[in-house]
């Protein structure tokens, strides 16, 4: 947090001697901030609250604010085999993220610490694959998987997520690696450290937080992915997002169970995102921002 406050730069005096009008203005701005924050967060808070209501209390108009809370909805969600979908999501996200990191860390290292001829070209090639709409490549992939009998297969989905997340991870890792002081690496090379010693013992510990953040972002994108999962899986390998999408039958009351399922589905990523939020922006901006 920078110590200079943007909207209040005219103020150089201390809090106690601040003019009353400015202090009142500051209170108003803080109030507005909180109103907007609560407004933005409200749908999520309401989702969590609804998850603990009975179906009857969930679908009332005007809405029910005070009611008996219950865990029945969560039980109902697990009765519908939710654990299988969560496990599939977890497998696809973790496996794809691991493969991405194994490919991305050396590549980013080669592109930043040990430069290659035309390394910028390679970098921009990687990022251009991120701009490729999934829709443009899904037809041949679908037909290929169908011919190989690999539709509804969690490994196939994981490999596609590798392609989806690889460019992002490389750019992000490159951004973190470019901050490793060149002198440290040169000193290690002079001391006769071979490449793997250099990477594992010297570079990796310095960029460990960056690696963790990149991995978290890859995990988030894979966990939330709907388009490919919806097309390429059906029962065995179905992940959470398409399960949620097909959840609503339209008949009978379902709002409370839906809220419970959605709450469970978003929980891992929301927690991961909260933990990584300081570095999130840099990853999302593909390393363009410190």
């Amino acid at each position: 947090m920078s110590t200079t406050m943007l909207l209040t730069t005219g103020r150089t005096t201390t809090r106690r001697t601040k003019p009353l009008r400015k202090r009142a203005g500051s209170v108003v701005l803080t109030f507005i901030t909180w109103v907007l924050t609560v407004g933005m967060f409200f749908p999520i808070a309401w989702m969590v609250f609804t998850a603990f209501k009975t179906e009857k209390a969930a679908a009332t108009s005007p809405p029910t604010f005070i009611t008996q809370l219950t865990l029945d909805n969560f039980a109902a969600v697990f009765d519908r085999g939710f654990l299988v979908y969560l496990t599939n999501s977890f497998t696809a996200s973790v496996v794809s993220t691991l493969i991405v990191m194994v490919l991305a860390i050396p590549a980013a290292y080669g592109l930043s610490v040990r430069p290659l001829v035309k390394s910028t070209d390679a970098l921009f090639f990687f990022i251009s694959t991120k701009f490729m709409p999934l829709a443009a490549i899904v037809i041949p992939i679908y037909l290929l998987l169908q011919n190989m009998g690999m539709l509804d297969n969690i490994s196939a989905l994981s490999i596609l997520y590798v392609g989806m997340n690889l460019p992002l991870a490389i750019w992000m890792m490159r951004s973190f690696l470019s901050e490793v002081p060149g002198e440290i690496i040169e000193a290690a090379q002079v001391d006769g450290a071979n490449f793997w010693t250099e990477l594992v013992r010297i570079v990796m510990p310095i960029v460990a937080p960056g690696i963790a953040a990149a991995a978290l972002i890859c995990f988030i994108f894979a966990w939330n992915e709907y388009f490919l999962a919806n097309l390429l899986t059906s029962t065995v390998a179905r992940t959470t997002p398409p399960f949620l999408g097909s959840f609503v039958s339209g008949r009978g009351q379902f709002l409370a169970v839906l809220s419970a399922a959605a709450t469970l589905a978003v929980l891992p990523v929301v927690i991961a995102g909260w933990i990584a939020q300081k570095r999130l922006v840099r990853g999302l901006a593909m390393g363009a921002i410190k």
Binding site: T4, L6, T9, P115, M132, L143, G163, Y226, L284
Partner: protein, 320 residues
């Protein structure tokens, strides 16, 4: 962009050190070994990216020249640009392009404005600042499928939705969001999800303002409004550009809320959804592939602008 500087230390790819084309730089043995090593480090990732994303795209281009419906497998033949002629003249493409432009355009611009407001508000010291920031980024972390469902059934439902209830408190008649104003419904959900994304990038921009310059401005008697327009806004330009471009790239593929909330009705059939429908409901492989190729061409146009802007920012931040 060609970077031809080869040193074992740091990369110099600003395009400033640029030996003449065609003249091979002389390398020492150690440098040559380093170069071989970095090639070996990059190629597995390169091979994976090409196999997973580039080859299927080439196949898509090939399919786009075929007349091919999955229901009539024997009927497959090469028809050159017939599919392109069909999709460009049957009206579906143009209306879908319009839907994409409207939805992406409005969602990006509105979330940019909201994101800017929130970033400015967060860039002050106040009680619970970190907590407010944490709550504010959460919509972007929401699984889009879950966000779409919650908005559709819990917030915007015409009978039990919270929004219509709030409207009734101030005497506004209930709105059947999903059926009466589907485009607005999609834009609301996307704006809600992408405002935090814009906010994070813009907040990083605000916090990277050199504080001494701002102090100098205030010493010179510039008020907060004047400081904002003559100093902050110009500084923020590149961050706004970046967030617009990244937001556009991410949103051009938007699919989840449309598949879940409107199923392409009421002018919300974006290019991804149209392709999905032609390929996996209509089973028209050739035609869908043509849509795919056209979508990529469109994305490339946006991406070229994006890449140039990204590159400029890297140069400025001294990060390459």
């Amino acid at each position: 962009m060609t970077a031809t500087a080869i040193r074992p230390g740091r990369v110099e790819n600003d395009g400033e050190v640029k030996p003449r084309r065609g003249r091979k730089p002389v390398l020492t043995q150690r440098e040559r070994r380093g170069l071989r090593l970095s090639r070996a480090l990059v190629w597995p990732a390169l091979a994976a990216a090409i196999t997973i994303t580039q080859i299927p795209f080439l196949v898509t281009i090939y399919y786009s020249f075929q007349q091919w419906n999955l229901l009539r497998p024997g009927d497959q033949k090469f028809v050159w640009f017939d599919n392109y002629a069909t999709v460009l003249t049957n009206g579906a493409f143009l209306s879908s392009l319009l839907a994409t432009v409207v939805i992406v355009g409005f969602s990006v611009l509105v979330s940019l404005v909201f994101g800017m407001v929130l970033a400015l508000l967060l860039d002050r010291k106040f009680v619970g600042q970190g907590f407010a920031r944490t709550l504010l980024i959460t919509p972007f972390l929401m699984m889009p499928a879950a966000a779409s469902l919650i908005w559709k059934w819990s917030m915007l439902d015409s009978n039990v939705g919270m929004v219509n209830w709030l409207f009734s408190l101030v005497g506004i008649n209930p709105v059947a969001w999903n059926t009466d104003v589907p485009i607005l419904t999609i834009i609301i959900v996307l704006t809600w999800q992408y405002t935090p994304f814009m906010m994070l990038i813009l907040l990083a921009g605000l916090q990277s303002q050199p504080s001494d310059v701002l102090e100098a401005a205030s010493v010179d008697g510039a008020g907060p409004i004047r400081t904002f327009f003559s100093m902050t806004l110009p500084h923020m330009r590149q961050y706004m550009e970046l967030s617009i471009l990244l937001g556009t790239i991410l949103l051009l593929q938007v699919f989840d809320p449309i598949a879940i909330m409107t199923r392409g009705t009421g002018g919300t059939k974006t290019l991804s959804y149209l392709l999905y429908e032609r390929a996996f409901v209509g089973l028209e492989i050739g035609e869908a592939a043509a849509y795919g190729v056209l979508t990529v061409i469109l994305t490339i146009i946006v991406a070229m602008v994006a890449l140039r802007s990204l590159f400029k920012i890297f140069k400025k931040e001294g990060m390459s």
